[in-house]
Amino acid sequence: MNIGSGGIDPPREASPKFIESLNREVKDWVRQGFIDADQASRIKAYYRSGGPQLSPSAMAMRLIMVLGGLMIGIGVISFVAYNWQYFTFATKAILLNLTILAVYAVGIHLFLGQRYQQLGHALIFVGCILFGADLGLMSQGTNTGTGASHGYGVWAAGVFAVALATQSLPIAALSSFAATVWAFQGVQEPAGTLPELRFLLPALAFLAFGAAHRSKPLAAFAAVSFGGGLGWHLVRPFPDHWPLAVISVAFLYLVVAFASLRTRFGATVAEPLAGIGATALVVGSYVSTFHTVWEGKPPLAVQNDSPSPYVAYLLLVVAALAALLMADRRRLLEWLRTPALWIVVAGAGILKLATLLHSFVADTVLLTTLANLGAIAFGAALVVDSIQRERRESFWAGSLFLGGLVLARLFEYESGLHIKALAFIACGVALLVAGTLFERSLNKKEDHHVPSVHA
């Protein structure tokens, strides 16, 4: 279809979310040279935000209904809460379960209908939360303790079933929250034959769900969950080697990220895996450096027959080979020309330097400063990458990483309250100023690349 030709149909209605996504893609197409600016503006003009416009009185009625409904709901909940302690367990159970069924029934009816789908979706979400409360009530009523039991795991499973049925990402996110609590309960109170399953089962479930929905946050959660389980399995026999376990898992992530690029799920999972892998690599290396500098442990050397260092080096080699084989030459050269990559390499070099100098330099303050500079380089690389590639995710990830690093150092070192206060203010002001400048720069570039054409 020749987009630039005449005889185009009248503008089509589309949801605001689609239009926002289209604008982003069109900008990328112009940058890649697939289309020119004129064609881009024609494509954008072809779609317009749809949905009937409500009259002022209809909007007022809708607002009155929502407010009135809210007040009634709050009144009912307050009445029940006030008298809750006087109800028997059976009464409480009946009340709560009937409420859940009613919420689900109304929710699914609206969700499957033509209108109020968002409201229906929200009601089903509320129903899933009430399901968790119901489990708590049943435990209370029977004096069943939590401890090493599977309360949160059961909640996660029940909510995941609803997420699958409704194909809902927010409900899947709620399930992932419950699964995370269940997994960490397992770390505190390991029970059963394979407590690592608390990490691995959610990882598999959410990886499949996230990949099917092209959801990067869920894919990232699945990756973190899997890595958590694997890392914990490596660490349990050798607790002191947790930075090395983190580095090993990080390299595994990078390898899988490269490998996934050639699959249909590459677009969804590669970026989160690479991001988590890179972050884990930096954190593991950073902490490992401190173990060396402050605690005198040999860096990345074999201790007590731990396999972690060998696994780490092996995965580094595999990751490098995979990158060379699987990335096409054009993309590989593009990466090699990225300043951000070389900043990361420099940061890694600084970290390694701090470790190597430990044997010759007794000044731990100098070495600690070098280690902190290495970590700062990572955050700076993300910000540089965001400016070069106009990516909000990289900018905010880098900014928050830098702010978090500065504040974390302040709380670890003995610094007075006034220093902490100044640091908080400085980080906050820097974030606001940098964020504002970045967004303005992005908006200017968007206006420059794709001039809007009003129909």
Partner: protein, 183 residues
């Protein structure tokens, strides 16, 4: 989508129903066992509207069987004493063979190397919180009490539990200074 949603809700309903059904089955078919309570850290005694219980049977140091690690499953054999309460006799990794006056409790080793049976939390209404707090402090004493004081306190504080033939337990109430609390 509707049928899938109904199936998911049915799955949730089955989970919700399982908890009280399981407890109800144990309470209906299980044997009544009275377990002496031990003093607990007073700052952890009451957490909101629940009370953390600690049993004599939870203390693994009293048994000759050692080598239990955190997370291990274990079976604690209980024998009925002349005063009607049950004393822990031994702990083993497998179900033991029981005498006629014995029952077994199935549990796990927690991070403090105590046995946990799933009956360590007792919930109660808000309006009896103060009363239970006062009675518990009087009845349970403190961890630094002498052996004689603990022997006297034994009949003042104990839990009523139902135990089935597989060692699974359900807490039905507690007794403090002769008063029964069942919710």
């Amino acid at each position: 989508m509707l049928s899938a949603f109904v199936a998911a809700v049915a799955f949730q309903a089955a989970i919700v129903a399982y908890i009280p059904l399981q407890a109800s089955r144990i309470r209906t078919t299980g044997e009544e066992v009275l377990l002496p309570l031990m003093p607990n850290d007073p700052y952890d005694l009451l957490a909101g509207y629940s009370m953390t219980l600690r049993y004599e049977a939870s203390d693994l140091d009293r048994f000759r069987q050692t080598g239990f690690r955190r997370g291990d499953e274990l079976f604690v054999r209980l024998r009925k004493a002349p005063d009607g309460l049950y004393d822990a006799v031994s702990a083993s990794p497998a179900m033991p063979i029981l005498e006629s006056d014995e029952v077994v409790l199935k549990g796990r080793v927690d991070r403090f190397r105590n046995a946990e049976f799933g009956i360590e939390t007792f919930y109660f209404p808000e309006d009896v919180r103060e009363e239970i707090n006062d009675e518990a402090v009087r009845a349970l004493g403190s961890p630094t009490d002498t052996e004689a004081e603990r022997t006297r306190a034994r009949k003042q504080a104990y839990a009523e539990v139902r135990v089935d033939d597989r060692g699974r337990a359900s807490l039905t109430g507690i007794f403090l200074n002769g008063k029964a609390y069942r919710y």
